[in-house]
Amino acid sequence: MNSLIPLFIILPLAVAFIIPIFGKLTDYFAKTITPIMLLILCFFSISLLFNSNQESYIIGGWQPIDNIPIGIYLVLDGFSKLILCIISIIGFLVSIYSISYINKYTSENNFYTLFCLMIAGMNGVVLSGDIFNLFVFLEISVIASYALVAFGVGKNELEASFKYQVLGNIASFLILFSVALLYWQTKTLNIADISNILKTHEGSALLTFTQIFLITGFGLKAAIIPFHAWLPDAHSSAPSPVSAMLSGVLIKAIGVYVLIRLFFNMFVFTYEIGVVIAVLGTLSMIIGSLLAINQWDIKRLLAYSSISQIGYIMLGFGIGMMILSKGGKESIAVLAIAGSLFHMVNHSVFKGLLFLGAGAIEYRTNTRDMNQLGGLAENMPITSTTSLGASMSISGIPPFNGFFSKLIIIIAAVQGKFYLLAFLAVIVSIITLAYFLKFQKSVFYGKNKNFTDIKEVPFAMSFSMIVMLILCVGLSILAIPSIREVILDQAVNSLINVDEYINLVIKN
């Protein structure tokens, strides 16, 4: 029991509590301690990723009685390792970027405190093996993000934050309600224990009811299409580093991750649920990209494109579920799920980079309107190059990582004989290319009308963007089978093998 997993929650919380105490002494306290903390977590999570150990940790040391778990468990398996890695790496780069960016705003200490709390909440959600504890940590991260969205306290920010809060609260209530219903049915809160009990249950009407509530609740958090209303406002109004965190990490860690974790590892999934998830994913993919074409605000365009890309991720998982529940070839399902996980990693990198690039443009020009911008490539070479790379990656141009993950999902769809879905995924990819060409052309190329004398952004900001561009290219190696086996397949296995997850928690 000498594992150090709780550090993922303790460190960010401790930093968040220390900043208000010592932050007033010097301006640089918060700006140095946050990146250092996140760097430590980065190394720790990467070292965990290359170590095939899976473990569970009982908080308080309460051993199970009669094989019923009574304490709160932290569970670390392949899937959570991957997400922890994403959170730490993107969090570290964004916190470096914020050092310069946040100079525009007042009370920088509060920004860093909320940022650390958001990280702590996400880490807590990812590690938690207890459904009510998961809800508590989810609330920490979303309440911090409500405040961060409104950080600029202008009209737009406050309005976006109010909308986000109302929809976020509805989602939280639905989740709490389904926790109550689950407790009623199983009398336990531990995910593995619930799964153990539900395996022997017949599929009842109440279970379906609970599942609908859970899909709605986490769908609202992940902004899948019928529940997407808050996302474009919130993600475009927030300060750019926060947008990068929200779009890149938050909607995955508290939306997609939990949805997938619960439906793979807690419920016995059926064909119908696979269909629902695949249909919601396809809808998000298509409608998100169609809505993005018409946007002239840079960050709104990126926000809508996030909806579309989340659709890809859900599509892959949906295909995997459909194949597995029908008893089809497992290798195809593994391919689809691995493609989804790969796309999840890639999306957080390139969408983070794109939002940081949009932030860099806003930092120098104070506008986000594409009609006023143009020809910035000469003045801001680093921003231009990095965001060109990210745009190519997101629209699936070969040497970049986005191409491979989309390719894997499409291949899996074709092999599973879902030709329509594969066709739609290709079409959406082309639409994505179209609106990113528009973005590139109207911002970085063409004639520079209004901003002829601006400079490149400060070092801290360009550093993060360059590192992210390197990641964009470098992550392509995950497509090589032998490397894929080490990292992605570990995560896929922990999702597919339900018994493995249960055995991790309840040791017989």
Partner: protein, 175 residues
């Protein structure tokens, strides 16, 4: 017991409907407060004294905050014209609600009725909690020992909200 609770819940529903339809924001806020205070009686009936104490204090503070906001701004409810959009909204909401009630009634039929529940995870907490944690109040024992991690999260949420409100209510956001 079930009857008393049902009557109380009926009153709460009436209070909630009044709060939603009141023409004066102050009376709406106070009606919501009364619904919240009825919750205290529910908790006492259901043998949850801890919750009753917390709820009565928290409801008072929430009410103070909401009344302060309403008195500070305006008490008038907006005029809502009964146009086609509004009628459409209300009827859609009602249909949606009826469908949900129908499914809920269907869904809960199979489960144990009021007051007859078994324990699984909590049986360990009830059986020998006192001996293990030494706390006579079992809820406190669960809250700070078995699930102390949850409680840390809960305190963190209040901390987050306080810091968040301090940042939202700054006078100037950008330099």
């Amino acid at each position: 017991m079930e009857l008393a609770l049902s009557i109380l819940l009926g009153f709460m529903i009436i209070g909630a409907i009044f709060a939603i339809h009141a023409k004066d924001l102050l009376s709406a806020v106070i009606a919501a407060g009364i619904v919240g205070y009825s919750l205290v009686i529910c908790f006492l009936l259901l043998k949850a004294p801890d919750l009753a104490i917390v709820q009565i204090v928290v409801e008072t503070i929430t009410l103070i905050i909401m009344v302060a906001v309403v008195l500070d701004s305006t008490r008038e409810e907006l005029k809502i014209n009964i146009d086609r959009q509004q009628i459409l909204n209300i009827s859609l909401a009602l249909i949606f609600i009826l469908v949900l009630i129908f499914f809920f009634v269907q869904a809960i039929e199979t489960l144990n009725p009021f007051g007859q529940h078994s324990l699984r995870m909590a049986s360990a907490y009830v059986g020998e909690t006192a001996a293990k944690t030494g706390s006579a109040n079992l809820v406190t024992g669960v809250l700070f020992d078995f699930r102390g991690y949850d409680t840390l999260g809960e305190a963190t949420i209040l901390f987050t909200a306080a810091i968040g409100i301090l940042s939202i209510l700054r006078i100037k956001g950008k330099k």
